[in-house]
Subunit: 191 residues, 2 copies
């Protein structure tokens, strides 16, 4: 066989695409550059992804599903609600630091409609996690009584802001611990 396995080539392309899309946005990213950075020809790239759009969607789906399942796994076996919230926030921020390109999901390129269903599913999923944690917190009397869906929406919105800040600030300048404490102060009964 030739140089690389199909699998290796595909993953090379995905890596390069990730970099390109996160640095230049959808329209700004360039198929020739992506191919070049993946050490493959343009034609070769098109063997694995039938279009730019398909490549970008595949990327987004992969990343969001990975983060979603990671979150679910860790949050599931944490029974203390306060701890669960903390974990929820730090998993998301850690993942953001590791994969800065996750910002793709927030982007507005090609209008908000691009990949809208994938993004929507992800955000709904995230909100459901938070709702579950808060409901448990309220039930066990650790958290304040509140409108659970509304509060979950606020907490996920805050998280979204933290994620953006982590992406925009030079590394380390953003304090994850402080964020968790601040959020918890809004939830806990006895601080």
């Amino acid at each position: 066989m030739n140089r690389r396995s199909a699998k290796d080539s595909k993953s090379s392309i995905l890596d390069a695409a990730l970099k390109a899309f996160s640095e230049h946005g959808y329209s700004g990213a360039n198929m020739r550059t992506i191919a070049g950075n993946a050490n493959i020809s343009v034609g070769g790239l098109y063997l694995y992804f039938k279009s730019k759009e398909a490549l970008c969607l595949s990327l987004m789906k992969e990343r969001l599903e990975e983060l979603s399942s990671k979150t679910e796994r860790i949050v599931k076996d944490t029974y203390n609600p306060a701890e669960a919230i903390e974990k929820f926030i730090s998993i998301n921020l850690d993942y953001t630091k590791e994969h800065r390109e996750i910002i793709l999901t927030q982007g507005r390129d090609k209008g908000f409609t691009f990949g809208a269903d994938v993004k929507k599913r992800f955000f709904r999923q995230q909100r459901k996690f938070v709702e579950k944690i808060i409901r448990e917190g309220v039930r066990t009397g650790v958290f304040l009584e509140c409108n659970v869906p509304e509060t979950a929406k606020i907490v996920t919105a805050m998280l979204r802001g933290f994620v953006l800040s982590v992406l925009l600030e030079p590394d380390g300048l953003f304090n994850v611990r402080g964020c968790c404490e601040f959020v918890l102060r809004g939830l806990l009964k006895n601080v």
Copy 2:
């Protein structure tokens, strides 16, 4: 003279550009379409803005300075810190609703570097406002003792998340009042 005054044409162009950039991002926006929507020719557009980049920067600057001065004006003559925070948040969210294009400032198009100085100046300004409010709150004993710059950073990050959520959710679904309360619970001594 011909059809319109230079002033009218320029403002028509800015309106069309705003729409284009916020809907399609920097690379996705199209000078021909912008000109068309502004009822002017491509050549005409270039009489007023020497390049796409200049047009976008001029737009961003205008919007951010408007919001910044609006914030300053209203926050300045509010002496109750809790009220000031509430106003700070709602001014920002109202402005976001009115000018959805503000999302330009959150974007990553053309790399993070595009318009970086304008954005940075704005965000620093915003953080300074928040710091001032918090410092006053701590001084008068209404707010909890805290690391002021760190806390201000967290609050502005949260605001950023709220702004994004307002932009992403269909109108009205996002509860401003609830956000303010949540943030204040993290700041106030006696809730």
